[in-house]
Symmetry: C2
DNA sequence: TTGTCAAGAAGGAATGTTCGTTTTAGTTTG
DNA sequence: CAAACTAAAACGAACATTCCTTCTTGACAA
């Protein structure tokens, strides 16, 4: 399973052959097909595992009370993701997530699950933003859901950058985000 | 070419067969192979086209003087991307970009190009942040490159969300980002 | 202790299919 | 006439999957 993950992260779901995986995990075809009915099932299993790491991290972060400021919140999410479950590197996790997002277009079953999960995640983060507003930290004229999507997008963008380069530290995102949060803009732009 | 793009966006590079493309574009094998030596070349051509839309948008946005505030900057980038070159929908563009990012791991040639391009883009955006600091809009104790990466990540995250759901408006990101920019935080968190 | 046996696990060659690509000969189009 | 294209067949390679064999294990009886 961990070997299949490595293969998929490296080469993508559909450019990875079963033989690639068999070689990586050092098993024969018969052994693998005892546990998975086929490649599609293996893909779904690994995609759902990776996505649930994402899901749990976002959900758990939003449940903190009182909610930490955005920089802490994103730092928490990302650290949780990468600490998740035994990925070799942070980059590998990002690469796999990228594959999962791509697969979402193709696989309707996976797509429905991701859609439902993200809707839930978004609701949690929207509540966080509302709490910011209650505390007077975030201006009231901002639609909470939009701010929530923006913050989630920020985290997603970090994961994408991590996948592409692997040379990005969470502290750097936090510092950058703090900079944006503390900008001296009065009205809007 | 536009047909191949549609196929790749829908099913990914490697789950799309040549036959799929031939059917979509209504050409025979002989016609396509007159212009592309093979599938790999077709993939690279379309990947580079999609990525160059991204690249041009980011670069052009950073060259504006004086630089607009982040919300305007990101709005400009994303509108430029989606207006780019004849994609059917904004979502289709996002899906293709996701595929390109995923392919970057696999294809070293493409990976090197993307890496070089992003390094350039990052430099331009870092200059924008330095200009913010010169104008006293952005606090000085923030490493400009980190803030640049954060903003770029925010745009990348929007594209990813667009690919996954297609139900996101650029104005919403802008409003959300404005909210983050105007948060009432004094020190840090 | 030793031998037996059943069942689960893994091996690995074989299978049929699909894929990317090439080739051929004929057809349209400017 | 020439360039571009079609249609269809054919190719080997690569692929996912199957099927039968072999190995391992643990319970149990002699």
């Amino acid at each position: 399973m961990v070997g299949a993950r490595r293969c998929f992260a490296r080469n993508g779901f559909h450019a990875t052959s079963m033989q690639d995986i068999l070689k990586e995990v050092g098993l024969s075809a018969g052994a693998v097909y005892r546990y998975f009915s086929g490649k599609e099932e293996l893909i779904e299993a690994i995609a759902e595992e990776a996505f649930s790491v994402l899901h749990d991290a976002f959900d758990e972060a939003a449940r903190q009370s009182p909610p930490p400021l955005p920089d802490e919140l994103l730092g928490y999410v990302l650290r949780q993701c990468f600490a998740g479950t035994g990925f070799d590197t942070e980059r590998e996790f990002g690469q796999l997530v990228l594959q999962v997002w791509g697969e979402t277009t193709r696989n309707e079953v996976l797509g429905a699950k991701v859609h439902a999960a993200v809707t839930m995640m978004r609701a949690g983060w929207t509540e966080v933003v509302k709490e910011y507003q209650r505390q007077g930290i975030m201006p009231d004229d901002v639609e909470p859901e939009y701010a929530a999507r923006t913050l989630m997008g920020c985290a997603m963008g970090f994961i994408a950058q991590q996948a592409l380069f692997g040379d990005l530290e969470i502290d750097q995102l936090q510092q950058g985000l703090r900079g944006v949060m503390r900008m001296q803009v009065t009205g809007a732009s």
